[in-house]
């Protein structure tokens, strides 16, 4: 900054002019945004007025990468583009990105995996205010329902974690021969899937008194943390750990490496959830000890969320006429072990899902209780 820049004093006339200009511009903006709201909600839209958006955690894990691909399958089937937003686990960032997209003039059809349950309300409210259509998946508060908020929140899809946690636990106990000690690696303790899956494990433990839960720790869904935690637990209960239950594949794969480092690879069975390709290959090889995983079919999740919103936006689906069981429902899950892993090893073709895009409720296994 040069010292020679003269300091000018703002005179009275100048100040008055600035104030008037500010007032006029505020009034103009207010008028224009008010008129936008009236035209965008309720009426059926054509393809040109719609923009498809996916909002997920990141593209750097196979689950969400498959989700994005599924979204692309749907978009290709209707001849549109899809935009992918990634928030890297940052709730504020997710909301800000969605808001900035909503401020455009097209109708937004959003398929979102909210970062935590507490974020869902802000997201659906923002979409409703902008006249868009949203489908949420996995996380929402228990007492907040789509029909309470309005037709713009088309549906909430989740997967019963108690079922998946229970099923893999059963497979694990089977592989252990029905008795022994296990350790459990939980996801982020606040997440709905983490809590549900652990409840499923506890239900299975209740049915199998010969299995003891030696310890349970959170590895926060990540491979790195799971490695460290498993290492510590293997020391703490050395010799007693006969099985590892992990709430997702990433953590199970980290635990597998810790078992390998301890010389226990193949001797201690491991289970996870998500059906990432690495886990599927591990199950197929049979040597690593990876016994089972569960697929919620991320491709389906990525596409069906957009399909529901798109049909609502074009008027093909009348949201107000849907029953509650179709507005908040559990999707289908597939337990994968050595016997059926082959059919999941190759990534699916877009054609496998065309019937799901026309009937998005085909995999509705029941309302969320």
């Amino acid at each position: 900054m040069s010292i020679r820049t003269p300091v000018r004093r703002v005179g009275r006339r100048m100040r008055a002019a600035v104030v008037v200009a500010a007032a006029v511009s505020l009034a103009v903006t207010a008028c224009s945004s008010a008129s936008d709201d009236d035209t965008s909600s309720g009426t059926a839209k054509s393809k040109e007025d719609i923009v498809l958006v996916e909002a997920i955690r990141s593209l750097s894990n196979p689950y969400h990468a498959n989700w994005a691909k599924g979204g692309q399958f749907f978009a290709d089937s209707v001849g549109m583009q899809v935009q992918v937003l990634t928030d890297e686990g940052d709730s504020q960032k997710q909301l800000a990105q969605i808001r900035s997209l909503l401020s455009g003039d097209k109708t937004v059809v959003l398929n979102v995996d909210p970062n935590t349950s507490s974020d869902t309300q802000a997201i659906v409210q923002a979409v409703k205010d902008a006249g868009g259509y949203v489908v949420t998946q996995w996380n929402k508060p228990d007492d907040l329902q789509p029909w309470d908020v309005g037709d713009n929140w088309v549906a909430h899809i989740s997967f019963d974690g108690t079922v998946s946690g229970y099923e893999i636990a059963k497979k694990l106990f089977e592989a252990m021969g029905g008795s022994g000690g296990i350790i459990a690696l939980q996801g982020i303790l606040d997440n709905v899937p983490a809590k549900q899956r652990f409840a499923g494990l506890q239900k299975a433990l209740g049915e199998n008194p010969n299995i003891q839960l030696l310890d349970q720790q959170t590895a926060e869904w990540t491979r790195n943390k799971a490695f460290q935690v498993t290492q510590t637990l293997l020391t703490k209960h050395s010799g007693k750990v006969k099985g590892v239950w992990a709430a997702n594949d990433d953590m199970a794969l980290g635990a597998l490496q810790a078992l390998k480092a301890a010389g226990l690879q193949g001797k201690v069975p491991v289970v996870g959830i998500d059906a990432v390709p690495e886990a599927l290959q591990s199950i197929k090889s049979g040597t690593a000890g990876y016994v089972a995983t569960v697929s919620s079919d991320a491709f389906w999740q990525g596409g069906v969320g957009l399909a529901l919103g798109y049909q609502a936006a074009t008027g093909e689906l009348k949201v107000s006429e849907l029953e509650q069981k179709d507005r908040a429902f559990y999707g289908k899950q597939f337990v994968i072990d050595k016997s059926n892993v082959d059919q999941y090893l190759t990534p699916p073709e877009a054609s496998a899902y065309t019937s799901d895009w026309t009937d998005p409720f085909a995999r509705n296994t029941g309302p969320i209780s």
């Binding site: 990540t222 020391t235 490496q257 390998k260």
Partner: protein, 347 residues
């Protein structure tokens, strides 16, 4: 050099003829300086005693080995970060650099994505990636005068971005068993990663004590204006410190890839906070000018012992993070207790 606020003469900045003034200082000052540095060590010993009482398994060979293994990668990161923090700067790009270097290393070595099989050259590639990021950090910070906080935040994001592109949706698996052995194998019962970390620590100490890069880091961190006025070419040494930090992060990324068997964008997640905590808890001031790699070693051990001990003593996972936070604040307060009157500016 024990790392308290030093005069120019003590830091050796005035040339080869200056005798270390430490020998001329009264014994009383030397004792006070030692006592100030003892805080973290005392805290570490206290924690170890506490956890041994709570669970006798804490001091078993297997567990100590586990703690050493868990500390190795963190120590490599923290030693590199120490040089930047000594300058008074900070390096927030470690997670991004680890991500990029792990992917570069895995994609150059034998992997399940392409036909490369460069073996140890892949390690060199990963480390060089880290050095490159460090160079970019340093040059942008010095030439464009962007605060290190902002520059490293930006390059960290670039690192994640580059890693995501290389990642391509699925982590490439490292199939080179020789390299995997460096991550999870042992020599004479000690995990190999611990040997790597020990070598890095020794190199770091050598850099800090016997080279200009290390000694001038103290001067620049202590008072940059005085350093500039006394004619030290600050830019050069700042860039060097960032290169050291980036190289360490690159090596840490390769070590993590060897351990987990994949190149992954999330491979460094959570390490930034742990690294900075390790450096600060050890006694290195965030404002720079004081501390060192030996202090960082103590800080790293404190963190690993804490994480390990909490699991061993059966503290509920719902409460562990809170307990870790409390202990770390207490440890830093204990370290700074005797010095708090002397530190006039707290940022």
């Amino acid at each position: 050099m024990s790392g308290t606020a030093t005069t120019l003469a003590e830091s050796g900045a005035t040339g080869p003829d200056a005798r270390p003034a430490a020998a001329a200082a009264p014994a009383r000052y030397r004792f006070v300086r030692r006592a100030l540095n003892a805080g973290p060590v005392l805290a570490l010993i206290l924690l170890c005693l506490l956890f041994t009482v709570l669970n006798s398994q804490f001091l078993t060979v297997g567990n100590v080995r586990g703690i050493a293994d868990a500390s190795a990668i963190l120590l490599v990161l923290a030693v590199g970060a120490t040089f930047v923090i000594l300058l008074g700067g900070i390096d927030l790009s470690v997670e991004g650099v680890m991500a990029s270097s792990s992917l570069v290393a895995v994609l150059l070595a034998a992997n399940d994505r392409n036909g490369n099989d460069l073996g140890y050259l892949a390690v060199l590639g990963g480390v060089a990636t880290g050095a490159l990021f460090g160079l970019v950090n340093g040059v942008l910070h010095v030439r464009l005068r962007i605060p290190s906080f902002m520059v490293t935040l930006g390059t960290g994001a670039v690192g994640i971005g580059v890693a995501t592109v290389l990642f391509g949706g699925q982590p490439p698996r490292l199939l080179d068993e020789g390299l995997r052995d460096w991550g999870i194998g042992r020599w004479a019962g000690i995990p190999r990663v611990v040997f790597i970390a020990a070598v890095v620590l020794a190199l770091g100490y050598f850099l800090q004590r016997f080279t200009k890069v290390g000694r001038y880091a103290y001067v620049i961190g202590g008072d940059e204006q005085i350093a500039r006025l006394s004619g030290i070419p600050i830019a050069r040494f700042k860039v060097a410190a960032f290169v050291v930090s980036g190289t360490a992060a690159g090596l840490a990324g390769v070590m993590a890839a060897a351990r987990l068997g994949v190149g992954d964008v999330q491979i460094g997640s959570g390490q930034l906070f742990a690294t900075i905590t390790a450096v600060v808890v050890g006694g290195t001031l965030l404002t720079g000018g004081r501390g060192g790699v030996l202090q960082t070693l103590v800080g790293t051990l404190l963190i690993s012992v804490l994480a390990n001990g909490l699991i061993l003593s059966g503290v509920s996972p719902y409460v562990q993070k809170a307990v870790q936070g409390v202990v770390i604040v207490a440890a830093v307060a204990a370290t700074m207790w005797t010095a708090r009157n002397r530190i006039r500016v707290v940022k």
